[in-house]
């Protein structure tokens, strides 16, 4: 199996190289070569998929002849985690990279198979270049071959998956982040293609926008899952530590957020082309950097997974990407000139520009802090690092400003806003913000935390503004089509998925930030020492340590504690947090001593009572020094017993005899092991019971975290919004096969007209402004239609748009799906 895998991997590498070469051969638009290269990409995808299947079969079937399986799984590893164990290894995560890239590339090329004929060959070459790089790493770099085997007999069992990693999040958190990193390859590849061929209009953006959004969604969801995992599993109670690897995932996400906004400006207004090109290169480089940081150990991180075998190669790739792209962008500056200028400082595009600057500023701050150890080593000769307070100091104000602009942006129309219309849409959100401010100052102690107060007020502004948007949209819809308010809301969202999906994402982000601000500013975090039966009061909650419960089985010691939480005499929650000490697994089965229980990992099972208003969180840290003493004595007694030392009980003689016989006769070994195991289990039980009866004090970490649940709720809201924005529109689904670039241009222009109408209906555009903008847009639409009509193939790049005849006979008055028929 392993050799089959190696062959398939080698074939995959060749397929990637082949696809890239053939694609370049078709760079002049030769249909044959382009089609061939696309099929080679499909082939690459099939081959890598086969490799993944082989590895997963090996994991599922406990095939310990595979090094990767032997080192990351074991017979007792639950099946669920066997499948996830692949990406806990370096080689497995490289394979995952290649696999996700192969799928994303195939989808991207399938979607664009009748479009962008100039750009696609170059984009294919870039994507397959990256793919060849990662498959090549697995083939040629040391120690990262997923199909490596060790000569000699197959080991009987594996080392197993680290207990810390045995959490449901392990199944989704790493693949989500990786998919996010990888999916940014697609917009990057198409951007490079567009730059090389000088087709730098918005067409490549329209074709890859969804990939950027998918990447952004995956990355964001992966980050949130990681935060949740840390919160519930690590016995630390926090969800974010400004750890380099966390930052490495946050930075491409922030840049991706900026990119998703600024490409809208290019799409709609033909501006910010250089900026977008730079952003997509930076985002992709940051994604590579994230992969690099996880694997390099350059920076001190709780995530640095050791091995440094592929770090230098990835760094080289980043160098090539950054230098190559910069040279390319500089050489194309003439083509990247803006088609238009910003009309007014108070317009949606200028808010987008500000939000872009804020997001990039945030990224620069985080990058500076993350790489500060390297920077300071360069200047002062010693590595110095920056801690969370430094990051908080800069990121907090920037994040608060971002929330404000999250609220302002949707309220403004494209191009320009008049004072009267601004007053109309800003009235309600400003009132809500003022009421929130007054309410918080009077009713809560939020006044002591000005940053949090600002954030709550701005979030209230943003959320009410967004809700108002839905209200106005639905009301306008109802005026023309009637129906219930709910029905109209659904209809208007369904009609404008991009716009309202985006608003829902904004809503979710505002809710997440409320959760972050509340839980970080108003958290109560205390270490308390309690004996069984004792109580203490933490933030109004009476916490009673009822009794300890100690369990022991063949793999772990569990020190659990029954906790009762009461408030005002009423029971709030009964919790049973625990701390578990695992025996190291794997290797040859040895006569484990009892002390070995405390050689392995220790994990916390947090006691969590989650609530809408607050989370009650508790994790114990038992004093096990007494247990350790007993364990050592038991081990010593046991060793004496087996040696047959004088003065030991009579059973010992028997046992010693059994051991002696087993040493000479392998067939007796299982029986001997079983006897010893049973004896050890007995004494472990005794130790557990003794601990429970001693009623020792336990140190508990108790956290009362207000509103933290809203982080996860906000995450789900944002996810829902992203899915709505991603959902294919009806027209696209129907017309997917015949859609051409000219049609796409036309549709985009219609969408712009529709957007302007929506803004007008919502009162964001004054009558005069709307009339002027509408006239201009219609003029542009006529130009597009003329072009389509003039040379049946659109602007010379589309194929066969004239053939279906749909482009003819349209006049701009025939605009589709008006929200409001004026």
């Amino acid at each position: 199996m392993a050799s089959l895998g190696s062959v398939l991997l080698a074939l995959a590498f060749l397929a990637a190289v082949f696809a890239a070469v053939v694609a370049l051969a078709g760079r002049n638009g030769t249909r044959r070569w382009i089609d061939l290269s696309r099929r080679a990409v499909y082939g690459f995808c099939a081959l890598v998929t086969a490799c993944v299947v082989i590895i997963e079969i090996a994991f599922a079937g406990n095939d310990f002849s595979f090094n990767i399986v032997q080192q990351h799984s074991s017979i007792e590893t639950p099946p669920f985690y066997k499948l996830a164990a692949m990406w806990s290894s370096q080689e497995g995560s490289l394979l995952l990279w290649a696999w996700v890239l192969s799928i994303a590339s195939s989808i991207a090329l399938y979607v664009t198979r009748n479009k962008l004929r100039e750009i696609v060959p170059w984009a294919t070459a870039v994507m397959m270049g990256v793919a060849a790089f990662f498959t090549g790493l697995m083939l040629f770099a040391p120690d990262v071959d997923p199909f490596a085997t060790t000569p000699g007999p197959t080991p009987a069992d594996g080392i197993g998956l680290n207990p810390l990693l045995q959490h449901p999040s392990m199944m989704i958190h790493p693949p989500m982040l990786y998919s996010g990193y990888v999916a940014f390859t697609i917009p990057f590849a198409f951007a490079i293609g567009a730059l090389i061929t000088r087709y730098v209009d918005a067409e490549w953006i329209r074709s890859t926008r969804k990939f950027a959004l998918v990447a952004w969604t995956f990355l964001g969801f992966g980050l949130l899952l990681g935060a949740r995992w840390s919160y519930t599993e690590l016995g630390w109670g926090g969800y974010w530590a400004w750890d380099p690897v966390e930052n490495a995932a946050l930075m491409p996400w922030l840049l991706g957020t900026a990119f998703l906004h600024s490409i809208m400006v290019q799409e709609k207004r033909g501006m910010l082309k250089v900026w977008n090109a730079c952003l997509v290169v930076a985002t992709f480089s940051m994604a590579l950097l994230g992969t690099f940081l996880v694997r390099s150990g350059v920076l001190q991180s709780i995530h640095a997974f050791g091995d440094n075998t592929v770090g230098p190669y990835i760094l080289a790739l980043i160098g090539v990407v950054v230098i190559g792209s910069t040279l390319l962008i500089v050489s194309r500056l003439d083509d990247l000139k803006s088609e238009k200028r910003i009309d007014s400082l108070i317009s949606r595009e200028s808010v987008f520009l500000i939000n872009n600057l804020l997001l990039v500023g945030l990224t620069l701050v985080i990058a500076w802090g993350t790489f500060f150890p390297l920077i300071s080593e360069l200047f002062t000769g010693s590595k110095a690092s920056l801690a969370a307070p430094w990051f908080d100091r800069y990121t907090t104000p920037l994040a608060i400003l971002l929330v404000l602009f999250t609220g302002i942006g949707p309220l403004l129309a494209w191009r320009r806003v008049t004072w009267a219309s601004a007053k109309r849409v800003f009235r309600l959100p400003l009132a809500v913000a003022a009421v929130t401010l007054a309410g918080l100052l009077i009713l809560s102690d939020a006044g002591h935390k000005p940053w949090a107060l600002f954030l709550f007020v701005f979030a209230a502004f943003a959320i009410s503004g967004l809700v108002q948007e839905f209200w106005i949209g639905a009301a306008a819809r109802r005026k023309t089509s009637g129906g219930s308010m709910a029905g109209a809301t659904v209809a208007v969202v369904a009609r404008n998925r991009r716009r309202y999906g985006g608003y829902i994402v904004h809503l979710g982000i505002a809710v997440i930030l409320i959760g972050i601000a509340a839980s970080s500013s108003f958290q109560t975090n205390r270490d308390v020492v309690l004996k069984p039966g004792e109580s203490t009061v933490v933030d109004g909650y009476t916490v009673t340590y009822v009794k300890p419960e100690v369990e022991v089985d063949s793999e772990k010691f569990t020190f659990a504690d029954r906790i009762r939480v009461e408030k005002d005499g009423k029971l709030v929650a009964s919790l049973r947090p625990s701390r578990r000490f695992f025996r190291p697994t794997g290797g040859e089965v040895s006569l484990g001593t009892l002390a070995s229980y405390f050689d392995g990992e220790a994990t916390s099972e947090v006691g969590l009572d989650a609530g809408v208003a607050r989370d009650f969180w508790i994790a114990p840290n038992p004093d096990i020094s007494g247990v350790m003493g007993r364990v050592r004595r038991a081990d010593a007694a046991f060793a004496d017993c087996v040696r047959g030392a004088p003065g030991t009980p009579p059973q010992c003689e028997q046992l010693a005899g059994l051991m002696l016989a087993a040493r000479d006769n392998p067939r007796l070994q299982p029986a001997a092991l079983e006897t010893i195991g049973a004896l050890q289990a007995q004494s472990a039980e005794n130790i557990a019971r003794a601990y429970a009866s001693e009623r020792l004090p336990v140190t508990f970490k108790v956290i009362v975290n207000p509103l933290v649940t809203w982080m996860w709720i906000g995450g789900l809201i944002a996810l829902a919004g992203a899915l709505i924005a991603l959902w294919p529109s009806r027209g696209r689904r129907r017309g997917a096969l015949v859609r051409t670039e000219a049609d796409a241009l036309k549709e985009a222009k219609y969408r712009e007209i529709r957007d302007a109408e929506l803004d007008h209906a919502a009162g964001k555009l004054s009558d005069e402004d709307f009339a002027a903008i509408d006239a201009e847009l219609r003029r542009e639409a006529v130009e597009i239609l003329d072009k389509v009509g003039a040379n049946g193939s659109g602007n010379g790049r589309a194929n066969g748009s004239g053939a279906n005849g749909s482009a003819h006979g349209h006049t701009p008055d025939e605009k589709p799906e008006s929200v409001e028929r004026s």
């Binding site: 640095a304 050791g306 990992e601």
Partner: protein
């Protein structure tokens, strides 16, 4: 004012703000940062100065002491004299003998005293190290 001039002014203002912010950022980062040192370098370090100590926990050296713990830390590579460390506060799950840690604190009469809540233990690198113990 003609639009070109207005744009230039705007650009200059924006750039100056950016430069000012960048200078503030750089200045504070150098003053707010804590220097990283290995245990062997800390023996001669100035008492009272805060450092990030990075090193490996000596297996079997962890003991309970009052409300906190006491243990010894050695350089990540190479044999060095081990440094006694005390720490009070949350101990991360992966913390144990043989693990690499980062701890912020200062030297006090030959002992490195860690600040509460600053102990970072590296995620178990099951992938590579064999030094776990």
């Amino acid at each position: 004012m003609d639009p070109a001039r207005k744009r230039t002014i705007r650009l200059v203002v924006a750039l100056s703000v950016a430069v000012l912010l960048a200078v503030a950022l750089i200045y504070t980062s150098f003053s707010a940062s804590t220097e990283a040192k290995e245990p062997s370098q800390l023996f001669s370090a100035a008492p009272g100065t805060t450092y990030d100590m990075t090193g490996r926990v000596v297996p079997g050296s962890i003991e309970k002491q009052g409300n906190g713990i006491a243990f010894r830390v050695e350089d990540r590579e190479g044999d060095s004299q081990s440094l006694p460390v005390t720490y009070t506060g949350t101990v991360p799950d992966p913390f144990r003998g043989g693990r690499e840690i980062v701890l912020t604190g200062a030297m006090e009469s030959g002992t490195f005293v860690g600040k509460p809540e600053t102990l970072i233990t590296k995620c178990p690198s099951k992938f590579t190290t064999k030094s776990d113990g």
